[in-house]
Subunit: 145 residues, 6 copies
């Protein structure tokens, strides 16, 4: 039977709290590769390119292989669907976001043949483009890599 | 200026960890009303009715007023959109979910005239209807009540 | 230049008010073929089949030609999208509807070569499956036939 | 039991006909606050900002409270979903709209504890960006405020 | 009973292979009107306008009648939904496409009263805006005209 | 630079024509693993389970690894989105499908480190649940495995 390390929970704790708290709550994840960052925008493509660029620059995915870009891209898109809750759109429908992001890469299943997976967490605020007229939002995407 | 208590983060920590950890990480939320529960299903309407029933039974929303049911309903639906990431469907597309849910009700804004808001968090697994063939998923919905 | 008779407005007035009021407000539509009916359900396919069956039985579309069924089907689907506002689902997400429907068929454009078009209006309530816990909803679909 | 004044019907009659006709057909709505306006655009955010700006300027929602902006925003988005029928997009998919809008605020339920609700109606034409190559479209959104 | 010539298959073979191969595989389609073309873009509206412009210029649809524009538009939109697989968006979510398109117009049903129909095929690549980081994609839309 | 063998085109030719024609048109794909089959249904989950079961039984994916099930599942879902063109629903909106399916697994990129990918093609008819009242539909999904 396959047993699972919760890389999605770990990614989410990294955006909700901070590296220290997340690692303390989930010591089993210390082998995982992680990155965290921030992005504020009215364009979905800025969210995608910010996470992709950070992931490539910090070596969480290979720059040269499409396979890894493809895996990360779909994980980001799933996380963005959580953020936008039903309509894959922000600026076009007058919303702006301020987000913290985290990417976690590692082997979550006990059976090592399940290989590596990637988790993308987005957490922050969404709302009108006026300070304070916003509420929280969260998204998580997971894919095999 | 309006300052915000993160009820969405609190709701999410309640599903990711437990009441003790969530309260310890966010002592500013101790005034908030909360419920937590669990649901495993292949039908979206079971997710919705489980959260609604728990919320009514434990008095987090009024049984008699449509206004409160309406606010909770849309918060649940937004959380479900995060869980399903783009397609509002589970059993119909051969997916099953095992979820922990939390509902938080309280006043997140410093300006008391912003009134009460409600946050619904869903966290667990989604996947094929075979044990182990699943990965994590998360959703958060927030609404004024 | 093409000038337009508002068959969508006419169909909507038929569901919002009644035949007498609609005809009085839009005397220019007296040549149009119309049907009106009612449907209460938790299944989208019941909405579709109720409108299609009524339209065939009262001769607003031909029973034998797929072409006309195809045109009506897509007009109904567009109206249903207005009713459900973003998620093409009712019972699966715990909603029930009580609707009045109207179908209008005729030539809305001054240029007769634009031929016949069809308008489908749906108006009524959507909400929790509990009397009173519901609000209004409307949808309109238009297609060439 | 809760009895309902049809604020959605009233909002729709305001966009389909005019203030005089709408008031005559629904005298029970005379206490409701209303605004009407027009917008022609290829951008969804122009529809949203036009309705929001008019609503704030004419005092139908409070300028300072996010709560009211949030309620109106989601009502507009639901109405826009009716207009676009399935794809929340206009200019990006080569469509342009010419719309009349109406916002109605008031207490539709007999039980006064249900409080105030808001209805947003959009009615007009959608089509290719060429005069005459267009047909009608309608949308309605309703929310508690 | 209505028998069918597969205009969708013919349109798809025109984009997958070439006119000679397609005609050889489907000699029954030789009466059909066809056009083929190419488009590379990050904007959905460029796909739509390229196909519409080619179809008008080569006389596959009438320039003056909205009816035919309306039929073609919805066929294109359905094909685009196949290309984008769930989210009607390309550049906004950091995707670029390189597509071959084909439009076929003719009478696919044995019963001549079913009249003319139109098929739109799109085939090519979708992916990151970097050469090689892309995979294939296909879409087909069919409508009565 | 990565060069590509068109596994999506190959999968599509397998559903549009037959194994002999597909292989003759694309001799470069002879190393690829393939399966073909048929399904007629009003339920999306029957499409998914038919393709998954055939793929496992004929050894195109591993029965024991979730990783491969996950890759195939998302490829099927993308193909289904092409079939349903915008609404991930069939029976619920009164549509029935008769489909041929093909799955292709192999290394499409020249750079062998890009590894194996999977393509799922669906082609057939969609329409009212009445013989003849239907038209063609196509879908293609591609994923790394």
């Amino acid at each position: 039977m396959t047993e699972q390390i919760s890389i999605g929970k770990y990614a989410t704790l990294l955006t909700l709290t901070n590296k220290e708290t997340a690692k303390q709550l989930m010591p089993q994840c210390e082998q995982m590769q992680i990155i965290v960052g921030k992005i504020g925008t009215m364009s979905l493509n800025k969210i995608i390119s910010s996470v992709e660029t950070a992931a490539r620059r910090e070596g969480i995915i290979s720059e040269s292989h499409y396979r890894e870009t493809h895996a990360l891209y779909h994980a980001i898109l799933e996380a963005v669907n959580g953020i936008t809750r039903g309509e894959l759109s922000i600026g076009e429908i007058m919303r702006t976001v301020g987000l913290k992001f985290a990417v976690v890469r590692g082997c979550p299943y006990e059976d090592q043949e399940e290989g590596e997976w990637i988790a993308v967490s987005l957490y922050g605020t969404i709302g009108a483009p006026i300070k304070g007229k916003e509420h929280e939002t969260i998204g998580l995407g997971i894919n095999h890599i």
